[in-house]
Amino acid sequence: MDIQLTEEQELLRSSIQRFLREQYDFDERRKIVATDEGWSRRHWKSFAELGLCAAPFQESSGGLGGGSLATMIVMQEFGRNLVVEPYFETVVLAGGLIEDVGSAEQRQAFLPKIMEGEATWALAWAEGRSRYDFNNVTTTARRQGDKFVLSGTKAAVVGAPWADKLIVSARTSGGPRDRDGVSLFVVDRHAANLHLQSFKTIDGRRAAELTLMNVEVSADQMLGSDGAGVVALEATRDRAIAALCAEAVGAMSVLNSATLEYSKTRKQFGVALGTFQVLQHRMVDMFIALEEAISLTQHLNLSLAAQEPNGSKLASGAKSKVGYAARFVAEQAVQLHGGMGMSDELNVGHYFKRISSINVQFGDPAYHLMRYAQQS
């Protein structure tokens, strides 16, 4: 009932842990974030060599067959170390989509490069007014012979500035908020008439707003069925949430340990902070929040792995509950660190910001609470 890891999974986890411990401490991460690209191609290559990029994919796709539990293991450790490389965008989002709805040719063309760490991807589904609604697409894709011509603007595409490939949702039919008629396209980041305006994200990553002005895409670059993009994105979201919850759990566990440690050493009014009962109970609530988040995250990942029918509802539930729990833990970790918690130099604020970012990605806790409530 609890996740007792298989030998393989234990191996995966300990190899990530060892690598990150040796090569990805907070100083190293800070240096990576400060580079132009904001992520390290060298580390990316190492992740691939460790098998992380191939871990979740099916063996029939050339992957290691680890599925959502492998993703959970990777993301939790990445959460613990605030890894900024575009694993989530490339492997979980794009890779998952390609494996899920891509044609045999597309899988063959794209997945090996992802698994080998030779290509990074980004997923462009959001628009300025879309909020968290996949239906709300005004970007259009007009058929012209064996091509589609894409026009529109996509917002807040994390990982886009340095991605090799983009997956873009665009409307091939239907009205601006119809569920049907949205299709997905693989677009080269260097495609003609595609303009990127880059910006930094709260958690030290790079994102971009895309403007497509008649970008031509070969028809065989449509991913999945014509008009069925929303369904594919919804399944992607469930996997994305499972991964983000695991990452949040990793980040929360570091915040809890750091806060506890700090409270035992830091003195105020002549005694350790941790002797104040109010702070003790706060940390107990942080502990409980983490325990519950771990439980729900495992439960969601197991349910997705078992293809339980209520997986999508459960995903929203977990995104909400884990999101609220993570926000509580992050806010209290800063509060209990006092002034130090506000400083950019300490790692605590960076975990806070990654959690704030996770809570925005694919819908915030309030959105998913009501989505959970509305799903029968």
């Binding site: 009932m1 609890d2 007792q4 506890l260 409270s263 035992k264 941790g274 002797t275 009962q277 003790q280 109970h281 940390m283 107990v284 609530d285 502990f287 409980i288 325990e291 519950e292 988040a293 771990i294 439980s295 729900l296 495992q298 439960h299 078992a306 539930g317 909400s320 509950k321 609470l369 009501m370 959970y372 409530a373 509305q374």
Partner: protein, 393 residues
């Protein structure tokens, strides 16, 4: 949430379900079994379980337990509570029984255990005293040795269902000079002994569940001492651990949550300003239940692999009671104007109670459940325990 069960375990679950469906007494299906049943009615299901050999899932086989695995016990707990069966006497089966077979002598085991299982003896708990509350070590009831007896004087309070009890297990101070925890003994007292008086305490919901128990020069045979004199604190803590473990109350919360949903569907129109609030709050508490259940499953899985759950019991107690209080609060809100009404106790069918049947106990449940964060070691004390035992603070 359903467990991924092995075929054997699934068969067991079906067996339990069927047994409940076929055997649970119709007589016990009253609005609020905890307060509305007579002593004899309360014992009906206990005796049925006893006959079936299922009355004491946690007990070792040699003392009358069914010899179940951790998973089977969990399944049984889950099925019985989801079905809303009245749990067997916790003070007998869950609390004093394990103390007797763990720390008692052979004579005590032989005398008491069978009558606990059969329901012939009804036990109550003599822990709390006026002014002690969650601080049990401050017990002031005195037991003074007099030949082969103890003379007991004191005043126990918040004693649940003492009005039905045949026996009471008491913490008594046998060494007034020792440090608080060191001078306490664990004594079994016959409620029929001269000098024992029970006085009802009516709680804010109007019900009579708890009592004062006055002990005046009560002569208790020394053979009723459990274990060693002045070592009672050890046995008392052992017992409290057992008490709290069961406090997640997933089954009960799941049932009351389903009822709440039904009430909201019936009572609150979609255009009521508060409709969205109910939907949201129900979703929130449902996720709380789900997360606690998933946590319980993790712990059960760890236990079945031999890992000590540690002070997880405190987590279950805190969150389980917070959740149930929230559900009863929302249920009270859901019945709207009828939330003004409260049943009169003792309950009879003759008294008029307004509004739909499902709302009749909502108010008293809301009031009664306020006790959950106080009794059994207040939630503040539970947080202290986690701070110390888990966080090392």
């Amino acid at each position: 949430m359903e467990l991924n069960l092995s075929r054997e375990d699934a068969a067991f679950r079906n067996e339990v379900r069927a047994f409940i469906a076929e055997n649970y007494p119709q007589e016990m299906c009253v609005p609020n079994p905890e307060t509305d049943l007579t002593k004899e009615q309360s014992l009906l299901w206990h005796r049925i379980l006893y006959t079936r050999g299922w009355i004491a899932p946690l007990w070792p086989k040699e003392y009358g337990g069914p010899g179940w695995s951790v998973t089977q016990r969990f399944i049984f707990e889950q099925e019985t509570s989801r079905a809303g069966t009245l749990p067997p006497l916790a003070f007998s089966v869950t609390m004093v029984g394990p103390v007797i077979y763990t720390f008692g002598n052979d004579a005590q085991k032989k005398k008491f255990l069978p009558r606990i299982l059969s329901g012939d003896d009804w036990w109550c708990q003599g822990y709390s005293e006026l002014g002690s509350g969650s601080d049990l070590a401050s017990v002031r009831t005195k037991a003074v040795r007099d030949g082969d007896h103890y003379i007991v004087n004191g005043h126990k309070t918040w004693t649940t269902l003492a009005q039905h009890a045949d026996w009471i297990f008491c913490l008594v101070r046998t060494d007034p000079s020792a440090k608080p925890q060191a001078g306490i003994s664990f004594l079994l007292i016959d409620m029929k002994s001269p000098g024992v008086t029970v006085r009802p305490i009516i709680t804010i919901d109007g019900s009579h569940e708890v009592n004062d128990v006055f002990l005046e020069d009560v002569r208790v045979p020394a053979e009723n001492l459990i274990g060693e004199e002045n070592k009672g604190w050890t046995y008392a803590k052992f017992l409290l651990g057992n008490e709290r473990t069961s406090m997640a109350g997933i089954g009960r919360s799941t049932r009351y949550l389903a009822r709440l949903k039904q009430i909201v569907t019936t009572e609150v129109d979609e255009d009521d300003p508060a409709f969205g609030e109910f939907i949201r709050e129900i979703a929130r508490v449902e996720l709380d239940v789900l997360a606690l259940e998933a946590t319980e499953l993790r712990i059960v899985a760890q236990m079945s692999r031999g890992i000590d759950p540690g002070p997880a019991a405190s987590l279950f107690k805190i969150r389980g009671t917070e959740i149930f209080q929230r559900i009863t609060d929302l249920t009270h809100q859901a019945i709207g104007n009828y939330g003004l009404a409260i049943r009169e106790h003792p309950v009879t069918a003759n008294r008029f109670m307004p509004g739909p049947d499902y709302g009749h106990t909502a108010t008293e449940k809301y009031l009664n459940s306020r006790k959950l964060s106080i009794y059994g070691g207040s939630n503040e004390v539970q947080r202290n325990i986690i701070a110390k035992a888990v966080l090392g603070l």
